[in-house]
Amino acid sequence: MKQWIAFWSIVRKDMQAYYLKPPNISWGLIFPVAWTGMFFIKSGSGLESILTLLPGVIAISILFGTTSMLAVTVTFEKNNRSFERLLLAPISLELLMLAKTGGAILFGVVNAFVPIIFALFLTDLSQVVWITVLPAIVLIAISSTFLGLLIAVSVNEVFEAQTFSNFFRFPMIFLCGLFFPITSIPTLLRPLSYLFPLTYGVDILHGAIHGKNIMSLPLNFAIIAGFCIILFYVSIRNIHRKWIL
């Protein structure tokens, strides 16, 4: 019970201190809109292309929302030593890191609904399988957040966190099948696509939103869940190794 008081308090504090600040809210709104607009104009097609663009825009909104904030906030707290306060609290490291990532996951899920709300006004979403979309959004948010966590515990400075995040994020836009299928990626680069959890999450979204997934949905769910577990435990191991000397 006492550990859960600490857990919710950390989630609440992070939401209050970092995620609900006006710059982040505006980032969460403007970024998906800008990407949607960009790909909509680029495709040159009508409103019917929204369904094919929506999975990519949802995924990119989650990816940038989660990784940007988490990599920076954890590194910032590590540098000003307030993270030590959390490490010294009588709460298990696993629960502590779930609390630290909880805010980012929630922020990612909320970000995902920005393009969905826009799409609701522009097109018919009646054929969307929401029961598949919702867990996919949650899993993409979790895996992206844990990727941000891994980055945060691998660097020492905030600027390194940002640089390192971009090193992963921008290739992911083109390699994970967000706006064009991974089958159209050059054969030499295609194996890289399968190394990113986002590929599997986006494939689920494509299947659930316009019925064009490449891999089977259960396999996609299993692989992205596996990525979440691996990324989390590698991060925990790195914290033990690097921060508890």
């Binding site: 308090s9 201190a17 508890i244």
Partner: protein
């Protein structure tokens, strides 16, 4: 003087910690009794913060045993962490939260219910004279206010043991005095306090027992009274004069063989003796050498002297260097 050694709350034995080739803590062992105010004194880089980090579970020892209230902290740090409060050497609360929110958040980290945390935070803000600044962001606090709030955060959950790492470093005299007063009050209320400092007067004023730590090793652990005893039996004076020659100390030693002389500077000599020092002949002799004596005063025995005798290190000069480094 109460003895706490029969009821130890912290037990450390053969504790060692290396960082690559550097031995930060080298096989140290000591106990701290329940309700004791224990001082851990040493120059910068002696291993004080590393020891605190190990004792609180923020670092892992390479070898040795640590028990906090009977719990093995090196094996299961989380089990003992609810018993301890920590005030690190730098104020590390959340700059974007207010003083009040910081305290409530710290209380919740230890599982304190929200309503109880609010009451306790208000109580501490009052006690630490921070009530006026309760709803200002921590980032806007002065250094002294930050230290006080960090101490308040360290005791918000009523810990049995409070670790204080250099609590008065880099703050103004008035705040430092207030913090010392608060530390003494905490001990009177039954909290066991583990204090590291490089301010020897602070340790002398507050602590019951002190460990001298030099290069990762404890060179002496004893009560302040026992540490001071050998030098209390000796008499010491400091004579100040104008334009003393470089050989004045040698001349004094030849003329007054019963006394020990030490040149402090070209204008100061320290005189020490097991018997009463007869100051008249000394002043006359110095003035006969063509210099003018400006002051002669008796030196009170201090822990600094004990430290210098045991370790050969001028602790205050190290302290000043640390201050400069922090200020730059």
């Amino acid at each position: 003087m109460p003895t706490h050694e029969n009821n130890p709350l912290i037990e450390v034995s053969e504790l060692t910690k290396r960082f690559d080739d550097v031995i930060a803590v080298d096989g140290i062992g000591f106990t701290v009794g329940k309700g004791e105010l224990f001082g851990f004194l040493g120059p910068n880089g002696a291993g004080k913060t590393t020891t605190i980090n190990i004792l609180t579970g923020l670092a892992r020892p390479d070898s040795g045993a640590i028990r906090i209230s009977g719990l093995d902290i090196s094996r299961n740090p989380k089990a003992a962490q609810h018993l301890i409060g920590i005030v690190p050497d730098e104020s590390n609360l959340y700059p974007e939260l207010t003083g009040f929110d910081n305290l409530c958040f710290c209380a919740s980290l230890y599982g304190v219910q929200k309503s109880e945390g609010i009451v306790r935070a208000k109580e501490l803000l009052e006690q630490f004279d921070l009530k006026e600044a309760a709803h200002r962001k921590f980032a806007g606090y002065s250094k002294g206010m930050k230290r006080k709030l960090t101490i308040a955060a360290g005791i918000i959950h009523h810990p049995e043991i409070l670790f204080l790492d250099e609590p008065t470093t880099g703050i103004d005299v008035a705040s430092a005095r207030q913090i010392r007063h608060l530390i003494a009050e905490l001990q009177r209320a039954g909290t066991t306090v583990f204090l590291t400092t490089h301010y020897i007067e602070e340790a002398e004023r507050l602590c019951e027992r002190i460990a001298f730590l030099v290069k990762g090793q404890i060179v002496r652990v004893d009560s302040v009274a026992n540490l001071l005893q050998p030098i209390q039996e000796r008499k010491a004076m400091l004579i100040s004069f104008l334009n003393g020659g470089s050989d004045l100390c040698d001349k004094l030693a030849v003329t007054f063989p019963d006394y020990e002389f030490q040149t402090i500077s070209f204008e100061q000599v320290r005189v020490e003796s097991a018997d009463i020092i007869n100051i008249g002949p000394l002043i006359r002799f110095i003035e006969e050498q063509g210099t003018q004596v400006t002051e002669a005063r008796r030196l009170k025995p201090s822990l600094e002297e004990v430290f210098v005798r045991i370790t050969g290190i001028e602790l205050n000069s190290v302290g000043r260097e640390k201050e400069k480094a922090k200020g730059s």
